[in-house]
Amino acid sequence: AGKSKVDDEVLDNLEEVLVSSDVGVNTTLKVIERIEERVSKDKYLGTDELNQILREEIAGLLSETNTGEETEYTIPDLPPQSDGTKTPYVLMVVGVNGVGKTTTIGKLAYQFKKKGLNVVLGAADTFRAAAIDQLQVWADRVDVPLVKQAMGSDPASVAFDTLKSAVAQDADVVIIDTAGRLHNKINLMNELTKVKRVMQKVVTDAPHDVLLVLDGSTGQNAFEQAKQFTAATEVTSLAVTKLDGTAKGGVVIGISDQFKIPVKYIGVGEGIEDLQVFNKFEFVDSFFK
């Protein structure tokens, strides 16, 4: 009787909304269980209250890693390197093919530059056709330097050069683009580990952030992506792209919860301004629109 207003129909609808937003069955059941628990305690719930509870519970899954209060493109202050030179904040961007890594780098560079930071980009995707030209267009748009080598050269060597150059010019931020790769390709994943290792020869604690880019229209495979990229590079943050379409990107809720990685940014278009700092409440609300 305590569940008088949260009947099976309501929960079924909720299940449909969440699964249809790519939240996945596991996480959906987790959310529903939590709601059922709360509902059995606090009786008599109206739809408004239920919606509020739902919002809280989903946001709860994201909360350990996402405070929801961040609104700025910030980078932490880093202590200088042992030789006294300035330590650039090194951001390495990884992900499977076509998710939006290069575009997100362009948008991020723009945001950092707008804050008055000196940004250097590194074109360590030396494989994909015209990947270097694509990043060059972004570097020109934002008006930041790009370090590159010829197509087919060693990505680790490009990353090394980029960090050297960044340190030499007292840069604040370095963003390294990498080639898209599917997480089940062991050699390519090892290559990424090597890129990371080689950077540490220049800046000992680099990279300071490994950003895994996930396509917002990806389904449950994103879990495996998070798992394998974390294994290879210790991913420290997530970006979800292409949320300007009808896809909801709900899979990141379970990923963020399970791997304890915060979602930092969302991509909402192809333009230079189309990047937002992640807000968990707005994100959850979008499932119901």
């Binding site: 499977v96 076509g98 056709a129 030209d133 267009v137 599917l182 089940n184 396509d215 990806t218 389904g219």
Partner: protein
Amino acid sequence: MFNNLSDKLDKALHVLKGHGSITEVNVAETLKEVRRALLDADVNFKIAKQFTTTVKEKALGQDVLTTLQPGQLMVKIVKDELTELMGGDAEGINLSGTPSVILMSGLQGSGKTTFSGKLANYLKNKKTKKPLLVACDVYRPAAIDQLHVVGEQIGVEVYSDKGNTDPVAIAQAGIAHAKANGHNVVIIDTAGRLAVDEAMMTEISNIHAAIKPQETLFVVDSMTGQDAVNTAKAFNDVLNFDGVILTKLDGDTRGGAAISIKSVVNKPIKFIGTGEKMEAIDVFYPSRMADRILGM
């Protein structure tokens, strides 16, 4: 943890057998596992529901529960049903035109440009055609360069007009160029676009109307989740496309989007992409895809 449907069904049916007598409730439990497996594989929510209803009817019709190995029969019914859903008559690419014009369409990053190259390479080598690639993505940074690099890799000419911002005009000029230079296939690469972007959907609709392609292909990333149905339907409403290309199947995605798309638009899945290299193209086999979705 149970990684694949056989295991899950065996478990459900094991429970079922332990009950001594078989009831509707037990069947429901088994079907729940089927549905769960489909959802884990990214089959659309509504389609998974519909599918389990069909499977239930078939299962009851075949007296699954009175056979010695109900689990195996159940898996067979599910697999056959999936295969049939994704199958139909295998249709190749329509190459009847002079030249035959093939138009690519799809979301951003789905693999259109790469697949344009793969298809040109395939038609050149396997069907002794003389293809022309036409670069109609005037938006993505270095999209035209990308197609040129691809064309160079496979030894296929690329028509482009840097600075021209009208994809309809470029497509038409490309076809004229093909005619003048003895190309018998023209593959038109287009920009990625979201189905909700009205201006961009109108643009591709205009390209389509202007060049009247023999073949319009919808290129979709096999890792796509629940949104596959919306996108496929929206592109089909505008283009009434002829076939679907599923890319990035060299990954470990289960690829349930294949079922969702087929159910919604009922267009054949013609080719799959299995890698970044130009040779990584294969025809689509429904039965293999069914195994994959079921994790078998």
